[in-house]
């Protein structure tokens, strides 16, 4: 039975590999061994820059697993916003259904509001039959005959 021992490098070997890395001459295997060395805890301060470099590349190589939870979280936030907006709109709309503003002051007493409405209608109502005449003309049934009648007596 062959027992395969993981070859770990010491600091002297690590320094040599670091120098080789900066020259761009390291193999993939050597970079892996160097990374394993730099990921050990308790290393001297002088290895901090190399730890940072290899740490960055290590993170970049890591494959991110797909997770649906962030989307579920955003969908729930969106649903909450929609519910809040809808509720606020429903509540405020109900309160504004029947109201009046008199000199900037809001009135919600329904009888008072109706009284103000009737008052505005009285401002509009006509004293003569202009509305009836207007409605007749709107239908246009006898409009042409009426207009032609004006000329029928002329000779």
């Amino acid at each position: 039975m062959k027992i395969r021992m993981k070859h770990t490098i010491n600091s002297i070997e690590a320094d040599r590999l670091i120098e080789k890395y900066y020259e761009g001459m390291t193999t993939v295997e050597e970079e892996k061994r160097l990374q394993d060395f730099l990921s050990r805890p308790g290393l001297p301060e002088r290895y901090r820059p190399e730890q940072a470099i290899f740490g960055y590349f290590f993170q970049k190589k890591q494959k991110k697993d797909f997770s649906i939870f962030p989307y579920i979280r955003w969908a729930s936030v969106a649903a909450l916003i929609v519910f809040t907006v809808f509720s606020l709109k429903t509540l405020t709309t109900q309160n504004q259904t029947n109201y009046a503003f008199v000199d900037g002051e809001r009135i919600t007493d329904i009888q008072e509001v109706k009284s103000q409405a009737m008052s505005s209608l009285r401002n509009i109502s006509s004293d003569n039959d202009e509305v009836d005449e207007g409605l007749k003309n709107l239908n246009g049934n006898k409009l042409m005959e009426q207009q032609l009648d004006v000329f029928s007596g002329l000779e």
Partner: protein
Amino acid sequence: MKSINKYLIITLLLGFVVLPEMKAQDDLQINRVFEQYGEMKGVVMVELTGEMLGGHDLSFFKSITIKNNPSAADFIRKCLAKDEAGAKKVKQVVANGIPTSIFLQLPRKEQLNRLILFNETLKPEPKITLIYIESKNDSEDVLKLILKKK
């Protein structure tokens, strides 16, 4: 890209909430009159929904009465000039070249008959009245019933 998708989803959902709230009169220019003058001094604005008024069942009633404000009258006339498009003019009274009374029957919208009534009087004091009505009943019936002789 993921952030854009999230904001897009939220915006679309908000749109579905906001759009149904739009009312039949939101396309009219006179809406601006109510918004601009409705809560000012010397102004009376009324809004009624689904109430009986003058013995008539109106789906929606909105009116504004403005006193001593000639610029408001000009503004209302400009709004009416735009809202006239496609409407039938039931009545118009012109004094010194200026329309002082206009009744419009607007095109139907969502099964509702719509009317705009405008009147300006100068005596005893300058007063403008603008009324917007929606009703499921015939416009002629609405006009005849609510415009009673003084």
